[in-house]
């Protein structure tokens, strides 16, 4: 079976597809890509179905060897890349064949890159998804990050989709801006905003927060202006959607990301809009983030703009 061989794994490289939807009521986390826009763009350029699994690369990239003729696309965080030692571009269709080596070099900006390979990665599916969830060791390859000498099976490329020519590079959507150490994320009011002191909503938007060092795929611990509640709250745990800002008694918010638990008991002051969660996925420890209120209408327009750019990428 055609496969991709992991020569070097990089810092934290995992298999991700759209996520494990449909089992949250049984305590199963959704997981999936931290930057779903870039994950989908990679699939669109490589000529894959939207459901195909890609590799999520973190901060330092892998070295991959192929044993078959495939189209590969790398999106998301900006890296220097080579195929067989020749520099190649991000966001373009790269032709590889038996023996080709894709090597990640220096990272320029952003935190996570996505590698899509035509045909997709076809590690076994668990509860309807191939996404790796590290805390419960589910999905991907044995539920873990990739290691040197791992080999991942590849599916049959879709013949109906004609990938890009190698020379063309796709533009990203104007609503997905790769952060260079800082980002502005648009938020909608959270379901427990009324449990906070009245000025908390303004405090949240008053100054930047720093992404803490103990931040990962589960969530980002943010350090910045304190978000206060009057007295101790005794909330009953309920669902914790992607992009929600929950606030423990310390007053320092936690931005919930892909590997978050399905439920939680801290009050939720705000929710980052879907389009900007993909931008949040490009933040890493030490980066700064500002929150700015927006409308539901603006949230939807931003998502539609991203969708249009993905459709354009898969049509060309």
């Amino acid at each position: 079976m055609p496969s991709v061989y992991i020569v070097k794994p990089g810092l934290l490289t995992t298999v991700q597809d759209r996520g494990r939807w449909g089992s949250q009521s049984l305590g199963v986390s959704v997981s999936g890509p931290m930057d779903s826009y870039s994950h989908r763009l990679a699939n669109a350029i490589a000529g894959n179905d939207v459901g195909a699994a890609t590799l999520e690369v973190t901060l330092s990239g892998p070295e991959l060897e192929f044993d078959d003729t495939r189209t590969v696309a790398v999106t998301g965080a900006e890296f220097e890349l080579t195929v067989d030692r020749r520099p190649v571009a991000m966001r373009s269709a790269l032709d590889v064949s038996d023996g080709s080596v894709l090597r990640f070099g220096r990272r320029i900006r952003g935190t996570r890159a996505y590698v899509a390979i035509s045909g997709g990665i076809t590690t076994p599916s668990t509860l309807g998804s191939r996404s790796t969830h590290l805390p419960s060791a589910m999905g991907g390859l044995d539920g873990r990050a990739l290691r040197a000498e791992d080999r991942l099976p590849l599916g049959e490329p879709l013949q109906s989709l004609r990938p890009f020519r190698q020379s063309r590079t796709v533009e990203s959507s104007s609503t997905w801006m790769l952060p260079d150490g800082r980002a502005t994320l648009r938020v909608l009011p959270g379901p427990q905003l009324d449990r906070f002191v009245r000025i908390a909503w303004d405090v949240l938007q008053s100054a930047p927060y720093v992404v803490g060092s103990d931040s990962n795929r589960i969530g980002y611990r943010l350090v910045g202006p304190s978000l206060e509640t009057p007295g101790k709250l005794d909330l009953i745990s309920d669902a914790t959607p992607l992009g929600v800002l929950q606030v423990p008694p310390s007053g320092q918010p936690i931005l919930l990301m892909a590997d978050r638990q399905t439920t939680g008991g801290y009050p939720k002051i705000a929710a980052v809009i879907s389009a900007d969660v993909s931008v949040a996925g490009q933040l890493g420890p030490g980066d700064t983030v500002r929150f700015v209120a927006c409308s539901t209408r603006e949230a939807l327009s931003a998502l539609i703009a991203q969708e249009r750019s993905l459709m354009a990428a898969s049509r060309s």
Partner: protein, 231 residues
Amino acid sequence: MSTFQIVPVGDATMVVEFEERIDPAVNARAIAAAEALRAAAIAGVRDVVPTYRSVAVYYDPLLTDYERLVWRLKDAITAPAPAARVEHVRIRVPVCYGEDFGPDLPEIAKFARASEAEVIELHTSRTYRVFMLGFMPGFAYMGLVDSRIAVPRRETPRVRVPAGSVCVAGVQTSVHPVEAPSGWHLIGRTPVRPFDPSRRDPFLMKPADEVEFFAIDRDEFDRLDRAQASS
């Protein structure tokens, strides 16, 4: 059907909220609403998640619009389709209480001003309802534990709690599906696994199920544990 309100959480989730209390009757309404929403098979809905007193509905905002979805949710909850039945089963869980399996049993006995045997008696004398699952795959939040043994959770969580640990935190009780950190009090261990991906149905306990615990001795635990390992 009781009163509920629908609250948006960001642009891709809505939460149907019932009365804010931990109560089997409120939880039954939430679970029934979740079943009604699943049976309605509303286009664009990606996941339906009942909790103690609410139901989260995750949707794709590109496939459904907010106003229309609110209307469909109200409709499905107030007039559920006949197929929307809540199935539940009764599960009996053998537990070897105390000693190294239940290092917090003496502390709970002290809290209850009772003997360890009386604490075990109190824990095994009730039928618990599975209110919801969360925290990790297969982790069931069950209650309500007798108030005499409802010790608040530990100040300092344990870094590692073995799979099968039977634990108590306030009026809640649960069984650890896999090894994980936990701030709950450990009172015993069961050879039963609430989550096993190799089983045809990996999940032993589901929302609305009824769970009873019964005491077994160490020999019986070892025998059941070996039988499970070899199957």
